[in-house]
């Protein structure tokens, strides 16, 4: 038997996940031993501290040389390290929001934060998985934790409905993905992404006696199933049906975490899998698939969000739309090769993108993920600040009327929400604007002009429903007998942090873009 | 009580004699099979001999021994009615009851309650019996010796997955009990089945953890073969052996010395798996009868015989892992050197007899435990499994592991094991202070009667 040699260099990328897991265990145990303590705010702060530590390690890892670690089961590259950073930012902010939210409902328990941190650990590990089984296990770690978090508030039918839908559909999607991975394993005999890519080409070219390609169907079916599994996780149309109900039913801080962290992790894993395997098959194929998904997701997500008066639901649809923009970036990654001719809705001939252009696309995707994480958590945070436990069963807890007159009642909150809405809509000077600029510019450079135009039009339509919230806040009088929102310092701290981040990165994107300006974003062997 | 010397002396000669004859037959037939059929055919002889003859005969004898032994402990006479033809004047210590029991069970009506699920009802006793019967296959009952030029292993099968077979097959038995409980459509049976399956899976964890220490010490999961746990225990700890004249003596690396905690864990857990008192809440003759309440005839007989087969198998496994298999604690080399190359089968047969005598002794120990301890309450059973055995098992694995890494010659482990044994003996000999005894009896459960009939959690009514 050969004993693998591990050095400390192998463990750096998993240290953030280790910190998160350790903190989760501490929280879990502290809950049972200190359960009756008067205040549980320390749990939220401990979670934030763990996220800060993990994020700091991830930031350090950003500058390290990209390499395969742990016998190739994982990779350490700026792509995954940045995802870890994004996840830590998102989880820390969501934990901060959760403190007030849960105290208000007398539901603050260590297990909540523990589950959150377990989910976060799963997300960070998902980003660096370079092997299908590792990837699947980490996907399940994050999924199972979020299923449980969705059902955290057991009052009323909404949380259980959301959790059950999420669980059943999520399990189904996970099974699809696992089945697809099994088919790919059957065709290549390996589950390591890098090895698989090398063997896929040979497997595709294999001919049988009658001159056919016996493994072709196997491989394409595998790709289809893996893609469908990922499309579910990122909530791409037509795999988006669960999103509104789950987002609405889940506790709002969890919704924030789902819209930011889960989605970001799933995107990073998707890019890693398809960038490793896609070029081995015809690159046209993933390009077309992702272009169609992006088109549908952008258009349908924005259209469905238009009529929503329920702000939480509107944000759920908006998160679908944002997944569409990100998918546009993913499609752009595949517009490579001189002979690439087919472009969905493209008016310029594809000339293929060079390595540096590809890094532009990575930069766009990652910057967009960070921007969306900060903004979406801020937007959900405003809802956290406004919603009242008593209204949850009535169904109007998140109605636009809630926001009416907020500009005069709580000018600070209203200002923050305005910033978030502008950022989601892609209006300068916010991080959402810079993100869209980077992403669409990269897509246009890659030749996806038509698709980019559709995206811009769709996001212009999106500005309508985002600004409607702003209109309600500043131009409608507060309804009679509106409850005075309770102030909690943790929630307000999160709002200030997200709002400041949204504006700051929008005005000065320099440090982040400098961090992302690397040609070796994604590690290839 | 009058000591019946004729019975005692008779048993002491007849039982080893029969065992010796059986083992010797096994070696010789095995040698012949290898010579005339194909190499490895002796395993098939062993399948018949060990499983069908030795295990089944001992298990059948246990059905009588259990009644006779309990009668002696309770100052009764025990079964003495059945007589053999021409020997009507002697009860023969009740031995004819073995035959009459089988005949009675076979000729009773096997009926199925009208509400039961027919297929599952019929399937359950088979699923309870078959895995238990197959378990003994990997237990080596004698050393490997050369007979007629062929190496004869006294084991039915020696697959490389060894103990994994044991765990895998043993865990199947839970299907029999839970299916019997459910398919009978009887509330008592359901309760028994649920209790049985819950108890069995609870103790399976401790069962598995108990053996990890031995796997670490010997780096194998095999029982038989030259690198198996059974043969490795015939060696002495390095440097701790000498010769007294021709006889070799020393400290053997028996599992019991290396892993006393592992032994206790495994023994307790396996005892719970047999569902015998004090772990007999799933059956509890005096309260819910058990998951087999609706069974009759030989279908019930299968559940019963499975229990006794389990007793024999458990003894065999314990001996193979913790008590040196067929080997004596010392003098094995000397014994082997007594016989010439053509007479090695005699050496094997002597050690085989030693093995089966150890098995009989452990069976006796199990009977004694079964008739000594009162029944645990169900919550006590779960507490023992999860709160005591599981933590001890984990601690044992890691402490033993550290000792083995520190001193790969296993001496440190043996010293630690010796200390553990001394501590256990001291604890056993220390009288319980009167105060804590009263606490244990009353506790916070309120008064509990002699048999520990306490909370019954599956049925909401009737408690507190």
């Amino acid at each position: 038997m050969t004993i693998p040699e591990f050095t400390m260099a192998d463990f750096w990328p998993v240290i953030p996940a280790g910190i998160l897991t350790a903190a989760a265990i501490v929280l879990m145990i502290s809950e049972v031993f200190l359960g009756a303590a008067a205040s549980r705010t320390y749990q939220s702060l401990l979670s934030v501290l763990a996220c800060v530590l993990a994020g700091a390690v991830a930031l350090m890892n950003m500058t390290d040389t990209p390499r395969a670690v742990l016998q190739g089961y994982a990779v350490m590259d700026p792509f995954s390290s940045f995802l870890t950073l994004v996840v830590c930012v998102g989880t820390g902010l969501a934990a901060l929001l959760a403190a007030g939210f849960l105290q208000h409902r007398n539901a603050e328990r260590g297990e909540f934060y523990a589950l959150m941190l377990f989910a976060a650990a799963g997300m960070t590990l998902l980003g660096l998985s370079n092997e299908f089984i590792t990837l699947f296990v980490n996907l399940e770690v994050l999924s199972v934790a979020t299923y449980a978090l969705t059902a955290w508030l057991r009052r009323g039918s909404r949380p259980s409905e959301g959790a059950f839908k999420y669980f059943i559909l999520g399990a189904f999607a996970a099974a699809l993905m696992l089945y697809g991975a099994a088919l790919l394993y059957g065709a290549t005999g390996t589950t390591h992404l890098t090895d698989m890519a090398a063997k896929l080409r040979a497997a595709l070219a294999e001919t049988d006696a009658s001159g056919g390609h016996p493994k072709q169907m196997l491989i394409y079916a595998g790709f289809l199933l893996v893609g469908a599994g990922f499309a579910f996780k990122v909530a791409a149309v037509p795999f988006h049906m669960w999103t509104p109900d789950v987002y609405e039913g889940a506790p709002t801080p969890v919704t924030a975490l789902m819209s930011a962290g889960v989605k970001a992790a799933a995107f990073v894993a998707l890019v890693r899998v398809f960038m490793a395997l896609g070029p081995a098959v015809d690159p046209q194929l993933p390009f077309i698939a992702f272009s169609v998904l992006a088109l549908l997701t952008m258009v349908v997500g924005n259209l469905l969000a238009l009529p929503q008066r329920n702000v939480k639901r509107m944000l759920a649809y908006s998160s679908i739309a944002h997944a569409g923009y990100l998918l546009l970036g993913v499609a752009a990654l595949f517009a490579v090769g001189k002979d690439a001719k087919v472009g969905v809705l493209s008016s310029t001939p594809l000339v293929g993108i060079s390595g540096s252009m590809q890094s532009d696309v990575y930069q766009g995707i990652l910057f967009y993920l960070l921007g969306y994480t900060v903004t979406a958590i801020g937007a959900f945070g405003t809802i956290v600040a406004l919603e009242r436990r008593e209204d949850e069963t009535k169904g109007n807890a998140w109605d636009l009327d809630r926001f009416a007159g907020l500009g005069s009642r709580k000018p600070g909150w209203a200002l923050a929400m305005t910033v978030f809405m502008l950022s989601l809509g892609g209006v300068p000077p916010t991080v959402g604007f810079i993100g869209k600029v980077l992403l669409f510019r990269a897509a246009v450079d890659a030749g996806l002009l038509g698709l980019s135009i559709v995206g811009m039009l769709a996001s212009a339509a999106g500005v309508y429903y985002y600004l409607r919230v702003v209109v309600y806040m500043y131009m409608r009088p507060a309804p009679e007998g509106a409850l005075v929102p309770e102030r909690r310092w943790t929630t307000e701290l999160a709002l200030v942090a997200t709002a400041a981040g949204t504006v700051l990165f929008g005005v000065l994107p320099g440090p982040i873009t400098a961090l992302l300006q690397r040609t070796d974003m994604l590690f290839h062997r | 009580m009058r000591l019946r010397w004729n019975v005692i002396i008779g048993s002491l000669t007849i039982i080893p004699g029969l065992l010796f004859g059986g083992v010797a037959t096994g070696y010789l037939l095995g040698g012949l099979a290898d010579k005339h059929l194909f190499v490895g055919a002796h395993h098939l002889v062993n399948v018949v001999l060990l499983l069908l003859v030795f295990v089944m005969v001992i298990a059948t004898a246990l059905t009588l021994a259990e009644r006779k032994w309990s009668a002696m402990m309770q100052n009764r006479i025990g079964p003495n009615r059945a007589r053999l033809p021409f020997l009507e004047n002697s009860a023969l210590s009740g031995v004819p009851h073995v035959i009459t029991d089988v005949l009675k069970l076979l000729t009773k009506e096997a009926f199925i309650p009208k509400d039961a699920s027919k297929l599952l009802f019929n399937l359950a006793p088979m699923l309870a019996f078959a895995p238990v019967f197959a378990l003994f296959a990997i237990v080596p009952a004698g050393p490997t010796v050369n007979v007629f030029g062929f190496d004869i292993e006294m084991v039915a099968a020696n697959p490389d997955f060894g103990l994994l077979y044991l765990f895998g097959i043993a865990s199947l038995a839970v299907y029999g009990t839970s299916l019997a409980g459910w398919s009978s459509n009887n509330k008592f049976a359901l309760l028994g089945g649920v209790r049985a399956s819950s108890q069995m899976i609870s103790y399976e964890v401790a069962l598995g953890l108990g053996l990890v220490g031995m796997m670490i010490a010997f780096s194998t999961v095999q029982l038989g073969g030259p690198a198996g746990m059974s043969d490795l225990q015939s060696h002495y700890l390095p440097g701790w052996s000498t010769y007294l004249g021709p006889i070799d003596v020393g400290v053997p690396q028996w599992g019991f010395l290396l892993q006393p905690a592992g032994f206790i864990l495994f023994f307790a857990a396996a005892f719970a798996e047999t569902k015998r008192a004090p772990f007999d809440v799933p059956e509890g003759e005096s309260e819910i009868i058990g998951y087999f309440v609706e069974y009759s005839g030989m279908q019930f007989g299968l559940f019963m015989i499975a229990e006794f087969v389990e007793v024999v198998v458990l003894s065999g496994v314990l001996i193979a892992i913790f008590f040196g298999g067929p080997y004596l604690p010392f003098g094995n080399l000397w014994l082997k050197s007594l016989f010439g190359p053509d007479w090695q089968w005699l050496y094997g047969s002597i050690l085989g007899t030693v093995f089966w005598l150890k098995v009989v002794l452990l069976c006796y120990l199990q009977l004694a435990i079964r008739w000594t301890f009162p029944r645990f309450r169900y919550d006590q059973i779960q507490t023992l499994g999860w709160k005591i055995l599981l933590p001890i098992g984990l601690a044992n694995v890691f402490i033993s592991g550290a000792l083995i890494l520190w001193d790969p010659s296993l001496k440190a482990l043996a010293i630690a094991g010796g200390i553990e044994i001394l501590v256990l003996v001291a604890l056993t000999l220390t009288p319980t202070p009167a105060k804590s005894r009263a606490d244990a009896h009353i506790g916070h459960h309120g008064p509990v009667d002699e048999h520990g009939h306490g909370a019954d959690h599956a049925l909401p009514a009737g408690h507190h």
Binding site: - | N46, D115, N185, S202, G301, P391, L405
Partner: protein, 126 residues
Amino acid sequence: MFTHMVSPLTPYLPVAVVLGLAGLLAVLIPALTTRLGPRSVNEIKSATFECGSDPIGSARQRFAVKFYVVALLFIVFDVEAVFLYPWAVNFKALGWFGYGTMVAFAFTLVMGLVYIWKKGALTWES
């Protein structure tokens, strides 16, 4: 004769024979009793036996959730034990590094055990 019959599966042949024999016995013994025994069915005899009183309701009813919890815990800790076996067999080769990794793994699960213990999942008295 089969003197030279050597196949990689030969060591497993006795296992198959044992399993077959066990199955055969398990089927034959109850089959024998249904052939040898008498058969007379009547209403009262085939009713569910509940100590003589008429059964109330079906036995197909819900039972305490504790049993399900035990099943869940079993899965967790038995899988842990299963992970321990291959580690144990290669223990000496893996050395202190392998020991350390397994300690970390077991520690996580022990923390889980502490949690469920303090949470009361192992407490049966109500």
